[in-house]
């Protein structure tokens, strides 16, 4: 980037928080999705909404694309830079500004880590419910951008159900407040447009979150099954019985092995396992957990276990929540996919996944939010074997198409980002996409915010609709492909 422009960014955020040296830029080339990379022109780390607004105004004046970034844990490449862009990192905006527990809300800066909100409120007996597996790291701003989910969204809802208001910087550098602590304000719900907009409409700098009282009791059970079929039946049977579990997580053989390797848990080698949380008052949680255990046994569980103490319960959840990264212990590389199917189709969908994997000659580990039908197939491969990454991407794509065929979606909670732009056409008609683009241009007519994400770029004539894989970023990297 032109040194004069860098100096102007530095004047806004301070030299120390304006990174333009090649080594620093290399570390911002990708987020949690490492297969796509591009080098930004500059990275700025503002400390206030005012600084964010000044950065946006300058970027717009210079005609430079703006890519917002939280902790860079996203799995769909939502924070993937555009070559030469300005990355606006919110990592320094991590204050918890105020909390009003009587009215159930807290106002935080966008760079606060998800779990830090709950830690901050713990002493007062309150917490923030959505819990993505990366919650120790991922930021509230990133959660809003991706409408993140998590294991406990089955009972409590996704990020969108927990955001009451947001302060956002728009494309012209103006700052507006959408929504606020008062529930259900009048007028158009513009806030909802921002939740899940993946950084394409503006930059969220502050968020008013709904916070809940911690349930009086939570009971956890761990059940093992000969195969995913019995585990899938159990999920449907538990929910059909009228129980609304706080979470039902499913893991297959490979995922169980990965979690075991990461945590040292004594989980057996079985076809599938469920980790179930039920919560409520002490009496309610105890009764419901017992009932859920009976249902699991009745549906063919090999074994139902209850954690001995809180430490073991925490460890079980740690095993589940680190399962993605822990798969790194059983495979040199992997792709995380994120698709949704109707809950009743779990057994069939996993059968399909296994068939597709066999045909491709690759292994797939499954660890997912079974109660929501939100699959997370992890396609294992070895990037050092020529052609295998490509094969893995094709397999991941086939799995998403299968999700759409079964009546589901190409993403449950990780977002479309750069990774799944090419599959938008599988789910939406051209009219649908054009309508979404109209909403986007209403906020950002010059399309400077996170270009290339969510919505496919306009096609060139003669091109097939939604070609197989858009990867303009590597070619644009001045240092060549990674």
């Amino acid at each position: 980037m032109d040194p004069g422009l860098v100096a102007r960014f530095a004047a806004i955020v301070g030299a120390r928080n304006c990174l333009a040296e090649p080594p620093a830029l290399v570390t911002y080339e990708c987020d949690g999705l490492t297969s796509m990379r591009a080098r930004p022109g500059v990275v700025v780390l503002p400390a206030s909404t005012g600084e964010v607004a000044a950065v946006v105004r300058l970027a717009r004046e210079a005609g430079v694309a703006i890519v917002p970034r939280g902790a860079g844990t996203g799995l769909s490449g939502g924070a993937l830079p555009v070559a030469g862009c300005v990355v606006v990192g919110l990592a320094r905006m991590r204050r918890i500004l105020e909390a009003d527990l009587a009215n159930g809300w807290a106002r935080v800066e966008a760079g606060v880590a998800n779990l830090d909100v709950s830690k901050h409120l713990a002493a007062a007996g309150a917490y923030y419910a959505p819990d993505p597996s990366s919650q120790r790291v991922c930021t509230i701003g990133g959660n809003v951008a991706e409408n993140s989910g998590g294991a406990h969204c089955l009972k409590y809802g996704f990020t969108v159900n927990h955001v009451l208001g947001a302060r956002v910087v728009l494309a012209d550098g103006s700052v507006v407040d959408l929504g606020g602590p008062v529930a259900d304000p009048a007028g158009f719900d513009l806030l909802a447009a921002f939740v899940g907009s993946e950084g394409t409409l503006g930059i969220v700098t502050e968020v008013v979150l709904r916070v809940l009282r911690k349930p009086e009791a939570t009971r956890t059970l761990f059940a093992t099954f000969p195969s995913c079929a019995e585990a899938g039946e159990t999920v449907s049977a538990i929910i059909a019985s009228g129980i609304v579990p706080a979470a039902i997580e499913m893991m297959d053989t490979l995922a169980i092995a990965a979690a075991r390797a990461a945590t040292g848990l004594d989980w057996p080698e079985v076809g599938a396992a469920l980790l179930v949380d039920v919560d409520g008052t002490v009496g309610e949680a105890g009764h419901t957990a017992a009932r859920a255990g009976e249902i699991a046994r009745g549906s063919g569980a090999l074994e139902v276990r209850w954690p001995r103490d809180e430490a073991e319960r925490q460890l079980m959840w740690k095993g589940r929540k680190s399962a993605f990264a822990a798969v790194g212990r059983i495979s040199p590389s992997y792709l995380v996919q994120d698709g949704v199917i109707p809950r009743s189709e779990i057994a069939r969908a996993l059968g399909e996944v296994a068939r597709l994997a066999r045909e491709a000659g690759l292994r797939v580990a499954n660890v997912f939010h079974a109660g929501d039908g939100n699959l997370h197939p992890l396609v294992l491969y070895d990037a050092r074997v020529p052609g295998e990454e490509r094969k893995a991407e094709e397999l991941a794509g086939e799995i998403l198409r299968m999700c759409v065929r079964l009546g589901g979606s190409i993403t449950g909670e990780h977002g479309v980002g750069a990774d799944k732009v090419v599959y938008m056409g599988e789910m939406f008609s051209e009219d649908d996409l054009a309508t979404m683009d109209l909403v986007r241009s209403a906020f950002d007519p010059e399309r400077l915010f996170n270009p290339g994400k969510v919505l496919p770029a306009p096609r060139l004539c003669g091109e097939r609709p939604w070609p197989s894989r858009v990867r303009p970023v590597e070619a644009a990297d001045p240092a060549g492909p990674a």
């Binding site: 120390r16 928080n17 990174l19 040296e21 090649p22 080594p23 620093a24 290399v26 570390t27 911002y28 080339e29 990708c30 987020d31 949690g32 490492t34 990275v43 780390l45 902790a71 860079g72 844990t73 990192g89 990592a91 320094r92 991590r94 760079g111 880590a113 990366s134 120790r136 790291v137 991922c138 390797a261 990461a262 680190s322 993605f324 990264a325 822990a326 798969v327 790194g328 212990r329 040199p332 590389s333 992997y334 990037a383 050092r384 240092a479 060549g480 990674a482």
Partner: protein, 430 residues
């Protein structure tokens, strides 16, 4: 180089970020474990040159290994940063002042005799009242930051620092349960002789015959952590030699950084055919004193201590050696003692070997957070198993006018077993 394979273990999930003290301080990706691994990859692939700009990001790493604990993928960041630092020392020429300062550190700290030679002038300086005056007037602040840092870190000194020596063999009290060798350390030996005295007494009471081989030198921990591989290997060979052939069941160490290095000798000397097997055999016998005592189990009767103790996890015990329960167990066995946890206890205090000497500004920023947390506990005493951590926390608390009373956990146990008195509160800066 095994490095490339180890680099591929990182899946870029970012779980290490909140565990990294420099990322917590600055929120900057290149000063995080994930970012540093990106840089190592770019260096390995030739996408970046190894120049002073890249080196700043490796230098900023404290080597606390908090990320190793946090990593779900089992990335060996400890090995990666060590290999990278060795490469930096081989290939990058540092600015003159930096080179001189680092040479001075390595000419002094790994040499107990030289350190001890410094004690008398320092003792006179502090006894004369000039030290107190200088502290009161803030004169240390007028020194160049790195020297001022060193001066301010100094612990209270006494005659024991001048003459400390341990008996070569101490018999076990009662039936002998083990024969162990004690690594006396450098800073530990000269500045905290009471810790070694306590270690010998406790081990003897718990049934260990304790051998302190004469002429043992530095273990090379500071050198390993700074990438000075050849120097470290030289020191390792010498130390192994001084502990061989003594018929020891275990080699015991009470300083965190030394312990983790001793346990890695096998890897340090793996490429040396004459020493690989000897080093591996040595490392296998190394035990932190808390680890050894936990394995043996307590036999000596504990007397009550009415004391609340905040427990500080030294990074090179908790993260590098994975010992969390064992050091606490030294204290929880004492009747009347109330053990309190320091919030965010898995975070480094900023001392980090020589980090607080070469980069005092960063170290203090990190250390201030630790001091906030330590003081929030409101305990009577801080238990800290590493001399560097103790000095760092006391120094920063001292600047706030707070005297933190600190002791090695083994000194607390010694007090319970033998009625010895615990170290008092140090003087403060004001």
């Amino acid at each position: 180089m095994e490095g490339r394979r180890l680099l591929d273990d990182c899946v870029h999930c970012g779980f290490c970020l909140p565990a990294c003290p420099t990322y917590v301080s600055w929120g900057v990706e290149p000063d995080s474990p994930r970012g540093r691994i990106d840089l190592m990859r770019a260096l390995a692939d030739g996408r970046l040159p190894l120049d002073p700009e890249v080196v700043t990001h490796f230098d900023s790493c404290l080597g606390c290994m908090g990320c190793v604990t946090a990593c779900p993928s089992g990335v060996r960041y400890d090995v990666l940063i060590e290999e990278t630092r060795a490469r930096v020392e081989r290939e990058v020429r540092r600015p003159l002042a930096d080179r001189l300062f680092r040479s001075a550190i390595f000419a002094l700290f790994p040499h107990p005799a030289r350190l001890r030679a410094l004690v008398l002038p320092l003792l006179l300086w502090s006894r004369s009242g000039l030290d107190a005056l200088a502290r009161r007037l803030g004169l240390y602040g007028l020194l160049p930051p790195r020297l001022g840092e060193m001066a301010e870190l100094l612990p209270p000194l006494g005659a024991r620092n001048l003459a400390a020596s341990l008996p070569e063999t101490t018999p076990a009290r009662g039936p002998r349960r083990a024969r162990v060798g004690l690594v006396a350390g450098c800073v530990q030996r000269v500045f905290f002789p009471g810790v070694n005295d306590a270690t010998v007494r406790v081990l003897a009471s718990e049934g260990c015959e304790v051998v302190v081989p004469r002429g043992q030198g530095c273990c090379g921990a500071l050198s390993v952590h700074a990438g000075r591989e050849d120097e470290a290997r030289r020191m390792a060979r010498a130390l192994i030699s001084s502990f061989e052939g003594l018929g020891l069941d275990a080699v015991v160490v009470n300083a965190a950084g030394c312990g983790s290095t001793l346990k890695e000798y096998g890897r340090l000397l793996a490429d040396d055919p004459a020493w690989a097997a000897r080093a591996a055999a040595f490392s296998e016998r190394v035990r932190d004193v808390s680890e050894l005592l936990a394995r043996l189990g307590p036999v000596a009767p504990r007397q009550p201590l009415a004391l609340s103790v905040a427990f500080h996890d030294a990074c090179h015990v908790a993260h590098a050696q994975g010992l969390r329960e064992e050091p606490r167990a030294l204290l929880t066995g004492i009747p009347g003692l109330r053990l309190l946890e320091v919030p965010d206890g898995d975070q480094c205090c900023g001392s980090a070997g020589i980090h607080n000497l070469v980069d005092p500004a960063s170290a203090d920023e990190i250390g201030e957070r630790k001091v906030d947390r330590v003081l929030s506990v409101g305990a009577d005493l801080l238990a800290s198993a590493n001399p560097g951590c103790t000095l760092q926390i006391r120094k920063l608390a001292g600047r706030r006018g707070v005297a933190v009373r600190a002791a090695h956990p083994i000194e607390v146990l010694d007090a319970s077993l033998h009625g010895t008195s615990l170290p008092g509160a140090p003087r403060t800066g004001r």
